[in-house]
Symmetry: C2
Subunit: 322 residues, 2 copies
């Protein structure tokens, strides 16, 4: 079957449904809402949100498929500027009647559990295309995605499990993918002003089309594999950790770590920036923010505590699969 | 007496001390810490932080005076780009040996009270100079500042009091200042992605040097007036509201409003961006974030509630002095 935006979107919508069902089973109490929405300029989405569960405090599995005139800020202003706002390696066409049309579809997930012993997880897979406008322009399309884990307390066995699962998915498709995309995640999920990573990373990739022996079709299979790995990985991590007891002090540490998560999402996350700049659906974009977060001035964890150990592991280039 | 960076800094340091004393009196329980710090590249500051008071949950009165090589990103890259990162209307000199030296000093205050009935307040006054490098360059210096109020519940009498006090300070110096700087605050303290103002605004100004009949010396007097107005205004607002009772539901609304405050500071606030980009002292920069904040998906206040009324007043161009 030919791969096109219609069947990519349809597959994503099915995946959204399947992930929600598996998360509801793992939570055992709450159900996801189902909120279709329409984008004025073209397209829309389905937001599925869960709250006050037995395991999940706040979470969203958001599907969207939007299209229309590609916003000007996506393009480079001129040859010399490298504006942080230019997402595309393209110049705005001079002929206004040739205003390019874009199509973007994807799923975004963030789950904030109640217990500080259960990690926060994030997954996003996205497809973007902008068809040819004639002339020398052949159009463009690509795949992007990422999955990363943010434990409030890093459990080394869980971190190894998480990365090994991702490596298995990657290795099935290309031997270079895990090391390449693991490094990309280390660099992407990084809170520069804190000099710490958001969590233990995972994989991140963007603008995947075809390269060498990897055709676009083969990359689609890899990309789907990442999407399908989410639910089994996270439900296993829930199962391992949900029954652990915790103290008020550990709950407060969780709120501080969530504060860092807010910092990353509002200061660095490209998806959030893109959403805010394109006048996206604000509640869907900021669904990633936790129910509660905290900031303490100059907080320093106790010497030799598990909080200090976690902090010491929030850095790049840790090899979790050995 | 000649006005120079030394006596401006000295005056700011005294103001910091005086404001802290008045806030301690108003709080009645907690005292400010006193934390001098040194900036590797030149200068430093004194952070004064208060927490777990009778009125104030978390607050900071931060003084700094930093200097050194002006960072490249302050300058425009070229004539055509208007990068959001270029803070100065100047081009980077071609002669590397003429690397410009900057000096920036100021006070920044954010106070988060415990009670949702007491408003959040922010004040900042700053002085910036970059001396001449010879040739046609005459150097530059300016004053900036702002004070704005973020009530969790807008009390109209308090809003009128706040704006009338600021108008009185402005009117003493120039008849155009209040309307001009009130509008500037409306535009600056604005959460674009929410289409709501952060609070009820106040005044905001930047790059004030000399213009018309307002010499630099006269503008210094105005600027000092703004700085000195902070403590009497806020201690009055504390006195008016601190004894009011509140419910858990009102406390939860406060946390949601604080979430908006976090969004503004991390997404839009220029001082925060400047600090994060210049590798500033992170704990001082993010002192503005509250101890606790909250985000709820698609929260809508009850019809005809005081929360709904507050939301309806979070917009630009409300005239609070009549």
């Amino acid at each position: 079957m030919e791969i096109n935006k219609e069947n990519i979107s349809a597959w994503l919508k099915e995946l959204q449904q399947s992930i929600c069902s598996q998360l509801e089973l793992a939570d055992g109490k709450s159900k996801f809402s189902n909120e279709p929405w329409v984008r004025e300029e073209g397209g829309g989405g389905i937001s599925k949100v869960i709250k006050e569960g037995a395991v999940i405090e706040k979470g969203g599995v958001m599907y969207s498929a939007v299209h229309g005139d590609a916003p000007d800020f996506l393009f480079k202003e001129d040859q010399h500027s490298a504006s942080p706002n230019s997402y595309l390696d393209l110049h705005l066409p001079k002929e206004k009647e040739l205003k390019p049309q874009f199509y973007a579809t994807g799923i975004s997930i963030v789950i904030h559990p109640i217990s500080p012993m259960v990690p926060i997880i994030h997954m996003n897979i996205r497809y973007f295309e902008m068809p040819a406008r004639g002339g020398e322009d052949n159009g463009t399309k690509w795949l992007g995605g990422g999955i990363d884990l943010t434990p409030h307390y890093i459990v080394e066995e869980d971190a190894q499990f998480f990365h090994t699962q991702l490596k298995t998915v990657c290795d099935k498709h290309h031997a270079t993918y895990y090391p390449k995309f693991k490094k990309w995640a280390d660099d992407y999920f990084y809170i520069k002003h804190r000099n710490e990573t958001r969590g233990i990373g995972g994989v991140f990739f963007d603008r995947l089309n075809s390269e060498g022996d990897m055709t676009f079709e083969k990359n689609i299979a890899f990309w789907k594999g990442i999407g399908q790995s989410f639910a089994p990985i996270y439900t296993e991590l829930i199962k391992r950790n949900k029954a652990k007891t915790y103290s008020n002090q550990q709950k407060q540490w969780q709120l501080l770590r969530r504060g860092r998560y807010v910092e990353f999402n509002l200061v660095y996350d490209k998806g959030t920036k893109f959403g805010l700049e394109t006048n996206g659906r604000i509640e869907s974009i900021l669904m990633s923010l936790p129910k509660f977060a905290s900031w303490e001035y100059s907080f320093v964890p106790e010497k030799n505590s598990s909080e200090e150990k976690t902090l010491s592991l929030l850095k790049k280039e840790i090899n979790w699969v050995s």
